[in-house]
């Protein structure tokens, strides 16, 4: 293995401290499998703003993507199950417009209880 240059240091991040999310299953408040996280929208600082979730249909037929505000997701890296929980209700998910084109303004569902992050207007 190549020797690490002195300009950088190694930090071991345990799965319990940070979990991979791309392709991760997303469960609803009741713990039921409802979607998969397929993309993350970040702002100019690289901070996550929203997650794109894919609600799968059957064998890929009828799959539908929506964008939800990052605050609507709860992560449990410390738990053995590494669950990723979406706090939106079925009715809120139902009303969300489809996320289609990454080049256009993404319709992001923001839970009412949380303030959206102040970002560049």
């Amino acid at each position: 293995m190549a020797k690490l240059p002195s300009s950088v240091a190694l930090q071991k991040v345990a799965p319990a401290d940070a979990m991979p999310v791309l392709g991760h299953r997303v469960v609803g408040p009741g713990g039921k499998d409802i979607a998969r996280l397929v993309d993350v929208l970040v702002d100019g600082n690289g901070e996550p703003v929203a997650a794109v979730l894919d609600f799968g249909g059957f064998m890929g037929v009828g799959s539908r993507k929506i964008a939800v505000h990052w605050s609507a997701l709860h992560f449990e890296p410390a738990e053995a199950t590494h669950r990723l929980i979406l706090s939106l209700t079925p009715d809120e998910i139902k009303a969300a417009p489809e996320y289609k084109d990454p080049e256009k303004a993404a319709p992001v569902v923001v839970p009412a209880a949380t303030e959206p992050k102040p970002g560049p207007q």
């Binding site: 791309l22 409802i34 249909g57 064998m59 890929g60 009828g62 539908r64």
Partner: protein
Amino acid sequence: MPAGHLATPRARRGLDLLNFFIADVQTGFGPFVAVYLTARHWTQVEIGFALSLGTMTAMVSQIPAGALVDALRGKRAAAAAGIVAIGASALLLAVWPVLLPVLVAQVLHGFASCVLIPAIAAVSLGLVGHAALGERLGRNARFAALGNGLAAGVMGVIGSYVSERSVFVLTAALCLPALATLPFIRGASFMSAGPFIDVGTSSHGASVVDAAPPPPQLATRHAAKIGAATKIGTEQSELAVLLTDRRLLVFAACVALFHLSNAAMLPIAAGEVTQLEGTRASLIIAACIVVPQGVVALLSPWVGRTAERHGRRPLLLLGWASLPLRGVLLALLPNPFLLVALQAISGISAAVFGVMLPLIADDVTRGLHKFNLCIGIFGLAAAGGATLSTTLAGWLADTAGDRVAFLGLVVAGLAGTALVWLAMPETRAGE
């Protein structure tokens, strides 16, 4: 059935099972690849690229693969190679889901499918001959539909409860029984049923055809053209006869319009179900996929028989007209549970399409040995229509909503039906 009786029951059952297992093997490819790669932490951009590559390969391969199958002497060997390639592609996806192997798998699968489809039709024609082909294609479609419906159910369940990867392991495994059916598909007709049986099965059929008197049931105008072509004896002149045949051109346009109307209907409707029904959606969509296959399995043999007895046109009209009918109902009745019933209508169009495409390819290539090329031409028309369908309907749905998108698909369906009605000649031999 002058030639059909020559196929042994063993060979017929072998062909039934071949169609069944090949449909099984094809079920996991398609939209499910995106689900699988997502689960393997692929990005959306990479997945989009891999899927487009597969679609593009399948499109550009249609005609060369058809010509290749025409040129190959052993149609069963071509089918075997196609099955092996698809099995290899499934294995690559299952064991090595990183960029390069997946791209190789997509290209391999796209090309192999374009070989396999005409190869099965050619094996069927070689087994039963022209006169019994309609009935045989009906059986092919029945067993393919049974395989498709069953595989969709089983793979849907193991895909969600075991693992996405297991779908491709199962796909690769199912290539073995598909291969195992091939040695049984051998009949007397391969050897001794007369020159015209072999037109679709041998690249050296030309000399046999030349020697034989023209079959009485051939339309005289067409027979004259073929006679001229075989006298000159060149590949080009046969191709010219085929490509200037009005029946081929009109039917290719009908096929393109069929898929322009059909391809986007289920995806848009299923997207609505996912939105409205949440966790129940996958069950409803599964029913929307499996139920039409049941309809196809029930109807196809009747379609094949009726096409032989009463001609192709009545069935073409039935199949093509059921598309705009379904589109109108989908536009007017956006109800997830009703959708399953409306999708059952798609079984009618699918049964007609599945039987009529190879049957009409045989009609227009009698005496020429361009049967598989012709299937490739129709396949290209279908792929083009389907690609355009998703793009146009997606754009309509974005700008004007799903209801308008369905109506756009209805317009394409009506255009296809009108074309069948006004311009498509009867192609049954003797008319």
